[in-house]
């Protein structure tokens, strides 16, 4: 029941938004997203209570009801620790996104409506235990992005919206082919729990795994299908950028892990070398490409390509620690990149530029926003005390556990990217907010308002909580990661 409420909450918010006027829509969206955040914390508490009471079932709060019986499609939902972490991430980013969009004037009601529908899609995706349902919610989380960028975006927004929608639709099409392949080779079932116990023949796995992995991979900016990221993120309004980088890219990582790797464990092992290779390219190539960007949004977008490469690296390494690290990285990057985009949005709203060269000395006028910007940067470069360090460190340790020269070289290359990240992050943050004030007009600018402080605060609490006390998140996601690892080990014996 709790999970059904989780879907109903944003839908109810969207319904009230549709009936409210533009002025009230802000309050409705804030109240709705705030309740979602509180409810996700309640869900976490109930989940931990169930686990503490000795409930060892893989998925909790499971419920299933027939949706389309002719095709054996059910409204089957349930959560494990990984899903809970993703739900918390979604709730935090959406709440912060509503807050930073407080001053949006153009079609206010419609903007918040689409943002809330996006969150419904993300929640639904993370709790689905039926693959058709999961695909349905994946699509729900794609369409509003097109409108958000196309209507409220900036720069070459039509081009970016088209590119993003077409590429993500292309990814979805690949996912659909993979799902249908699984359906017809598993006794006509979309049920994730059933499929996890069913052994799909290895030759079938070899055919359909690439469809699923690449399809979901497009969402998580797998090389070379990452080109929607820089244009999409840079043209999107702040809240949409936060959602795109913070949550949307995680849908892909979650799908790669939960669907492709979990349900086709033999193919995951067969293709693991290719996944690691592509991930290592994304990490290094993304980092170097970021180095030459001059627009703050492009810097964060390209760095997201690199950071999401770590997620794929963790998945590709197939060790328990690396898989746990991949999940930690999804949460960490979601919070960090949302914070980064929020800070960039705050700077842009005041200075009307995102060009690093035109900024400078903003710390004097905007100490709060500049500090937020720095925190996001330091988390991005993996400074201890922030979530980025915990996630990347876990991935490195887990990756090194995978034996073989190729995997060790990939791990070393991934580690070295930290230096490149430090170069571009320190350069961008230093030039933007430190040093002399480049433009006299900046001297009259004001610092963050209450809504911006609250938005940044919510995200920073998450980043620091993971950075300082990593075990609460680690303990939450570890059983889910272990289940995926056990699945890999179980079917490795059949090879």
């Amino acid at each position: 029941m709790m999970l059904t409420i989780l879907i109903l909450l944003p839908l109810l918010t969207a319904l009230i938004l549709a009936m409210s006027n533009a002025k009230a829509s802000r309050t409705v969206a804030l109240a709705g997203s705030g309740i979602q955040l509180l409810f996700s914390l309640l869900l976490l508490q109930n989940y931990l209570t169930e686990r503490a009471a000795g409930n060892t079932a893989l998925f909790l709060f499971e419920s299933s009801s027939a949706w389309f019986p002719a095709l054996n499609i059910n409204f089957h939902i349930g959560v494990d620790g990984i899903s809970i972490a993703m739900i918390l991430l979604t709730a935090s980013v959406v709440f912060a996104g509503v807050l930073v969009s407080w001053k949006i004037e153009k079609m206010t009601k419609e903007f918040f409506l689409l943002l809330i529908i996006l969150s419904a899609g993300a929640y639904g995706f993370f709790i689905s235990l039926d693959l058709f349902l999961l695909f349905f919610f994946l699509e729900v989380a794609v369409i509003p992005k097109y409108l958000l960028i196309g209507i409220w975006g900036s720069g070459k927004k039509e081009y970016s919206a088209n590119k993003l929608a077409l590429m993500l639709m292309g990814g979805s099409a690949l996912v659909l082919v993979g799902l249908i392949g699984m359906y017809y080779n598993s006794g006509n079932s979309f049920d994730l729990v059933h499929l996890s116990t069913f052994h799909i023949p290895f030759y079938i796995q070899k055919i359909f795994f690439p469809f699923l992995f690449i399809g979901f991979g497009v969402f998580t900016a797998i090389f070379p299908f990452h080109t929607w990221v820089p244009d999409g993120h840079s043209s999107a309004p702040t809240a949409a950028s936060m959602f795109l980088a913070g949550i949307s890219m995680k849908l892909g990582g979650y799908g790669c892990l939960r669907v492709a790797t979990y349900l086709m464990p033999e193919a995951a092992q067969y293709y693991s070398g290719y996944i690691v290779l592509v991930a290592a390219i994304a990490i290094i190539y993304g980092a170097f490409a970021t180095m030459m960007q001059t627009d703050l949004k492009y810097i964060n977008a390209y760095s997201s390509v690199s950071h999401c490469g770590f997620v794929l690296l963790g998945i590709g390494m197939l060790t328990k620690t690396a898989i746990t690290g991949a999940v930690l990285q999804m949460v960490s990057h979601g919070l960090m990149t949302a914070l980064f985009f929020a800070a960039i949005g705050m700077l842009y709203e005041r200075t009307h530029t995102r060009a690093v060269k035109e900024l400078g000395g903003l710390m004097k006028m905007m100490p709060f926003i500049s500090t937020v910007f720095f925190i996001a940067g330091l988390c991005s470069l993996g400074l201890p005390g922030f979530s980025g360090f915990v996630a990347e460190m876990t991935i490195f340790v887990g990756s090194w556990q995978r034996s073989g020269m190729f995997y060790h070289i990939a791990t070393i290359l991934a580690c070295m990217s930290i230096v490149v990240t430090a170069v571009y992050i320190l350069r961008a943050t230093g030039q933007s907010v430190m040093g002399p004030v480049n433009n006299p007009k900046f001297l009259t600018l004001t610092d963050a308002h209450w809504n911006e402080k609250l938005a940044a605060g919510v995200l920073i609490v998450g980043i620091v909580a993971i950075g300082v006390m990593p075990f609460w998140l680690n303990d939450l996601v570890s059983p889910g990661a272990e289940a995926i690892y056990n699945q890999l080990s179980r079917f490795a014996l059949l090879k």
């Binding site: 590119k163 077409l166 590429m167 090389f223 070379p224 299908f225 990452h226 080109t227 820089p230 190539y285 170097f288 490409a289 180095m291 030459m292 960007q293 390209y302 620690t321 460190m393 876990t394 340790v397 490149v420 170069v423 075990f471 680690n474 303990d475």
Partner: protein
């Protein structure tokens, strides 16, 4: 300035004794650490030696430090310029990494990788435009396509049947 330096100095001396391994580890278990005196003696002795030499040189009013500096010649110059670490760093990052790696990577991404995706999009558009004439709405044309298809299939079947 003396006070913050003194605080930092005290922290530098004392923080090494904090058992960080008990608080931070990868698996939640306490990380076993131990002190190897044979490993610690050399760096500590070098640091203390440096402090003593600096104290002797800069607290004394003799011309002895200048004499040594002059005698060491270019080495003194190198030390004064911090072993040119900043210059080397700037050369490596700006001239090598930025120009030879970063710039080509960004160019390749914009023009080749993204260009490839745009080419796919443009090709789909061109193909779509090229076949748009087929959807003319003229039934006679559709019948002609249909007939051509049937003849083509018939010829194919005859060919397969003969061989």
């Amino acid at each position: 300035m003396l006070f913050p330096l003194a605080v930092l100095g005290l922290l530098a001396i004392s923080s090494g004794w904090i058992p960080f391994g008990e608080f931070v580890s990868t698996d939640g278990k306490v990380l076993a650490t131990e002190t190897h005196l044979d490993f610690s003696i050399l760096p500590v002795a070098l640091s203390l030696g440096g402090i003593v030499i600096a104290f002797v040189f800069y607290k004394s009013t003799t011309a002895y430090p200048d004499r040594i500096a002059n005698r060491l010649g270019s080495f003194t110059h190198t030390v004064k310029n911090k072993f040119y670490i900043d210059e080397i760093y700037l050369f490596v990052t700006k001239k090598i990494v930025f120009n030879l790696v970063g710039r080509p990577a960004a160019w390749i991404d914009r023009n080749i990788v993204d260009g490839m995706m745009n080419t796919f999009g443009a090709a789909a558009q061109v193909f779509s435009f090229s076949i748009s004439g087929i959807q003319s709405g003229r039934v006679q044309n559709y019948a002609a396509y249909f007939l051509t298809g049937i003849i083509g299939l018939a010829l194919l079947f005859i060919y397969v049947w003969i061989h």
